[in-house]
Symmetry: C2
Subunit: 313 residues, 2 copies
């Protein structure tokens, strides 16, 4: 049976985690960059969305660490590793949005209710800001003279690089690009989204677990992996639903753009009712993955799955 957490407790936890994530991003993004570039990087990251990926990292780490982690130097270092991983996945997500919005890709002018980065800083500025954000993600994961075990640093880089690259997010975007105006079946659509959105969401979960080194056994990792895969896909199905049911103001980005670009979606493929059913099946699959983990502290991950299913933007 899935563990429960009260909405008030979850809101408290979420608020605290978001506060430390925002503070860390504010501290780590921008310094050391030439003025214009640092400004564009901060703009791309600030005021940004739900921070679902950082929350997944932090909740997954807590699930593996268990309640009441020891107050040791190592525990503090692993906690710092989780915060760095949370920021790193968010930087990869942020850079992908910057590049995705550019005229040669989706040519979008509105994101999170603000002008997109290339509108604000020019195309070359957006290109470089995205490039620098990707590099910064890996820099955050490998601090020098740190108590974070080097095995943890290497594992985090490994997982993030795979999820961001050609067999992950960038690969999914390439398939997306090639599929405009094409007829995809559900398996092809699923493959595209598993790479484009799912890989980084799933990696967020697995990176949270990796922050605890080898603490998670094979069964726990398998359960978390299933949770992450189902949640990642559910996120995209809900995205497709919101694209046709919400207006731009609620979304904070241009609504209806999938149809405008003749992009295949879960709604165009399964209809609205079918897409909603699909999202619910994936939500159930995510919770079953959690239940199979055998971990004692998964209530926040379950609440995050609810959040993905029930979100309105």
């Amino acid at each position: 049976m899935t563990q429960q957490i009260s909405p008030a407790n979850f809101a408290d936890w979420t608020g605290a985690q978001l506060a430390r994530t925002e503070a860390a991003l504010g501290q780590w993004v921008g310094p050391g960059a030439p003025a214009g570039l640092g400004q564009a990087m901060r703009y791309a990251v600030q005021g940004g969305g739900k921070r679902l990926r950082p929350l997944l990292v932090l909740a997954a780490r807590e699930a593996v660490a268990g309640e009441g982690a020891e107050d040791t130097a190592l525990a503090a270092a692993l906690d710092e590793a989780a915060l760095r991983a949370a920021c790193a996945v968010e930087l990869i997500h942020a850079y992908s949005l910057v590049h995705d919005d550019m005229p040669c890709m989706d040519n979008d002018v509105l994101r999170r209710g603000k002008p997109t980065v290339h509108v604000q800083f020019g195309e070359a500025g957006a290109l470089l800001a995205g490039d620098a954000l990707q590099a910064l993600a890996f820099e955050l994961l490998t601090p020098e003279h740190s108590a974070i075990p080097e095995a943890v640093q290497a594992a985090l880089c490994r997982q993030l690089a795979r999820a961001a690259g050609a067999a992950g997010m960038a690969g999914g975007q390439a398939i997306d690009l090639a599929s405009v105006g094409q007829q995809l079946d559900e398996a092809q659509l699923q493959r595209m989204h598993q790479l484009k959105t799912g890989a980084l969401l799933q990696a967020s979960v697995m990176m949270g677990a990796a922050c605890q080194g080898g603490a998670a056994g094979a069964a726990a990792l398998a359960g978390l992996s299933r949770y992450g895969a189902a949640l990642g896909l559910a996120f995209q199905v809900v995205d497709d639903i919101l694209d046709v049911t919400q207006d731009s103001a609620t979304l904070g980005k241009t609504a209806g753009k999938d149809a405008a670009h003749a992009k295949p979606t879960y709604v165009s493929l399964l209809g609205l009712t079918g897409a909603r059913q699909c999202a619910q099946n994936l939500h159930r699959d995510a919770l079953e993955g959690l239940a199979a983990c055998g971990l004692g502290n998964t209530a926040r991950l379950a609440a995050l799955a609810d959040m993905v299913l029930l979100r309105s933007n």
Copy 2:
């Protein structure tokens, strides 16, 4: 006194190192990527230039390892680490060229004698190929189930991320972008090139040393760092000289484009004679750095410095 290597020996060594680097790039770049993306990534990397950065990694590793490294499992793993590092720095270099050539940046159509990636694969294809190449660089440095010590993996990621990011290559490109049509003094021009070109060249040297773990002492690292910094800057000064003295066919890229873009260069600042003197001073500084290393196997690094000074493309 600087060690010497005969031209024939150096050519043999270079040929062997290039052969294994090309083979490794051929094996590692492309597989796992969706068809179109993998093709664009390979195109960006293939047939590519002097491979100066990989040669610096491999020569620096040999300088620290010494002649006749032991035939142990660890030595083999460190050798593999050097090959992975050599490919990783080349991927970062290749991705930077792909993005730099795009219409919103330098808008260049010729590179290494071939149409640039965006001409061949479209702008969106070039954008994604560059993004995926950057991620792949970090993936190559962190293989799973490998005998490469995790401390070496983490150190390589750390150095590459810093050199590629906002305080390195991407930062230098941002300064370059902001400086078009501006009057820069020599200190400002140097700062721009230290970041834009120098950081990755210097990192190539230091990553080669890092492949040997803690084998290099502080004096050796300081000497290598000085060598790398001087060589990195010399490379750019020579680039500026070649841009006005060679034709496009010899360069394999569009000649005279700095002047066409009203970009400040060492030649525009110091004149051709002054720029040549500057390159020679930097070359001497690089060799002095090597001499200060106290390492017994630096002849190849010295020969690479000669190559940078005497190159014609």
